[in-house]
């Protein structure tokens, strides 16, 4: 079964993502900040990470940096789901190795689910 890590600090967004992903047949872990995310990745080796940017303790940029510099983790696809919509933020995340970037308020959850499927079925590969 495909395992996904959601890194998000808002309960309602976790809920929406978790319910939809589980219905699609994925198993899901949740980390509510960047520090917890690193621990979870070590523990459960997810096949894909859905990553928020603004979070307490360590932010999403920190997680991106840690994952992409680690040879064992760098091939895990990372889809950034953030409401930071500025060009600079998007550019920074993509340059740091994020594979996709969605501004949450502008995209239906179905689009996110479709993207997750594309990565996990190998139709889309990590940069």
């Amino acid at each position: 079964m495909k395992h996904i890590l959601i890194v998000e600090d808002e309960e309602f967004l976790i809920r929406a993502l978790k319910d939809n992903l589980e219905l699609e047949g994925y198993t899901v872990d949740v980390a509510m900040n960047g520090e917890e995310a690193i621990k979870q990745i070590q523990k459960s080796q997810p096949k894909l990470i859905l990553l928020d940017i603004l979070m307490p303790k360590q932010d999403g940029f920190y997680v991106l940096e840690q994952v992409k510099k680690n040879p064992q983790w760098k091939l895990i696809p990372i889809i950034v789901l953030s409401n930071l919509g500025g060009d600079d933020d998007i550019k920074k995340a993509l340059e740091m190795g994020a594979d996709d970037y969605f501004v949450k308020s502008q995209h239906p959850i179905e689009e996110v689910l479709e993207k997750v499927k594309a990565y996990l079925e190998g139709r889309k590969s990590v940069k």
Binding site: L13, G85, K104, S105, I109
Partner: protein, 406 residues
């Protein structure tokens, strides 16, 4: 004394009196002349002192160059900003002390250097160039943002050189950054609950929690539409705040209108298709036309007009986008046969949040910010917006934009 001696004596006395009189006159004349010279000297000194006082007291750094680009004068403020003393800068080429760069400290190419441009054009015409966002490398290597003005100086009807007035805008840049950071954060905080509502409703609409009754589905769809409307409003309001920011800089680039039309049609195509409105692209007649302006801003204005034309048309109606060429300007026009604007409301449609009475019924989720935003952008580009409209028959919106941004 014999008669002739007496006569000679009298003659001599007369001449002496004349000499004395003349001498007095001459002395007085010289004295006047001397006074006048002194006065002239004083006035000249005063004028010099005034120029010097002006030079030292202006808050800008000032650099004067001769036609070969050598520094012939600089004020204390310029020394302070640049870090070079008068001795180090005077009589040397300006590039020794006035090195313009990009934000990373890489010296800018000669073709983009406003001083080189000015020096190359000097004999031809009096020019004035104002540059808002350039950087300067100080003597200590620090890179600072500067705003500068370059103007030619004419003396006795001949061009004598250039004067550059510049100032450090680090503080303004810092404030602009704070403002943009605040907007970005405010935007994030407002979007987060809206995106949560959106995804939770979508989860229910996908029947993830079980099937919904017809009535529940209708209610949910309505809540979803309201949430989308709120999201759009937040997006447009923040956009307005960004544009209203005085710091928003107009970029200049050569924009061929062919590319512009294609961009606008690409962005608006799906909306037109949804509404079954026919978009007519008249660009093929203007393949060679280009203008110098900010492409993103111009596209945003045209997209606003086209989007309104689509929104306020009926299915199967036509929206035409075309351009007329004038001597110094291009006039874009967007014509529709839609609902039009009521006569008594024509003056108000550019007001922030204003929506015409017939627009509300036709499209309930408009924000009333589109034309306001377009008019602000037009102002920044030095362009003018006007329109003709008749209720029930349609509208034509015009954007008259100079071929070159000054």
């Amino acid at each position: 004394m014999d008669k002739s001696t007496k006569s000679k004596f009298l003659q001599a006395k007369k001449e002496l009196a004349i000499y004395k009189w003349a001498d007095k006159k001459t002395k007085r004349g010289f004295s006047v002349l001397y006074k006048e010279i002194e006065q002239g000297k004083k006035e000249k000194e005063q004028a010099n002192a005034k120029t010097e006082a002006f030079f030292t007291s202006v808050p800008d750094g000032i650099l004067a160059l001769d036609l070969k680009g050598r520094v012939i004068k600089l004020n204390e403020q310029a020394e302070k900003i640049l870090g070079y003393s008068k001795n180090e800068a005077l009589n040397k080429h300006y590039s020794k002390c006035f090195q313009l760069s990009d934000g990373k400290g890489t010296p800018i190419a000669l073709e983009y250097n406003p001083l080189e441009k000015a020096l190359a054009n000097v004999p031809a015409a009096t020019i004035s160039i104002a540059v808002a966002s350039l950087f300067l490398i100080k003597k200590n290597g620090k890179v600072i943002p500067v705003a500068l003005n370059v103007a030619t100086v004419a003396f006795a009807k001949k061009v004598a050189g250039l004067v550059i007035a510049f100032h450090d805008i680090s503080q303004e840049k810092e404030l602009e950054k704070l403002r943009l950071d605040f907007l970005s954060l405010a935007s994030h905080q407002l979007r987060t609950p809206l995106s949560g509502t959106k995804w939770l409703i979508e989860t229910m609409q996908r029947n993830v929690l079980g099937p919904l009754t017809k009535k529940q589905k209708e209610y949910l769809d309505q809540i979803y539409q309201l949430n989308e409307r709120m999201t759009k409003l937040v997006f447009e309001m923040l956009n307005v705040l960004r544009i209203e920011d005085k710091g928003a800089i107009v970029k200049k680039e050569i924009v061929p209108i062919v590319g512009l039309y294609q961009g606008v049609f690409l962005a608006m195509g799906p909306a037109a298709k949804n509404k079954k409105v026919v978009l007519f692209n008249a660009l093929k007649n203007h393949r060679t036309v280009a203008l110098e302006t900010d492409k993103v801003m111009l596209e945003a204005i045209l997209e606003c007009f086209v989007s309104n034309a689509i929104d306020y048309s009926m299915p199967n109606q036509k929206v035409i986008l075309d351009v007329k060429e004038e001597k110094d300007a291009l006039v874009f026009f967007i014509k529709d046969n839609g609902i039009g604007i009521p006569k008594e409301e024509k003056e108000r449609i550019f007001q922030r949040f204003y929506r015409a009475s017939n627009a509300k019924g036709h499209k309930p989720d408009g924000t009333g910010l589109g034309l306001y935003t377009a008019s602000m952008l037009a102002e920044k580009l030095g362009a003018k917006i006007s329109f003709e409209s008749e209720q029930g028959k349609g509208s034509i919106f015009y954007l008259r934009i100079p071929k070159k941004v000054v």
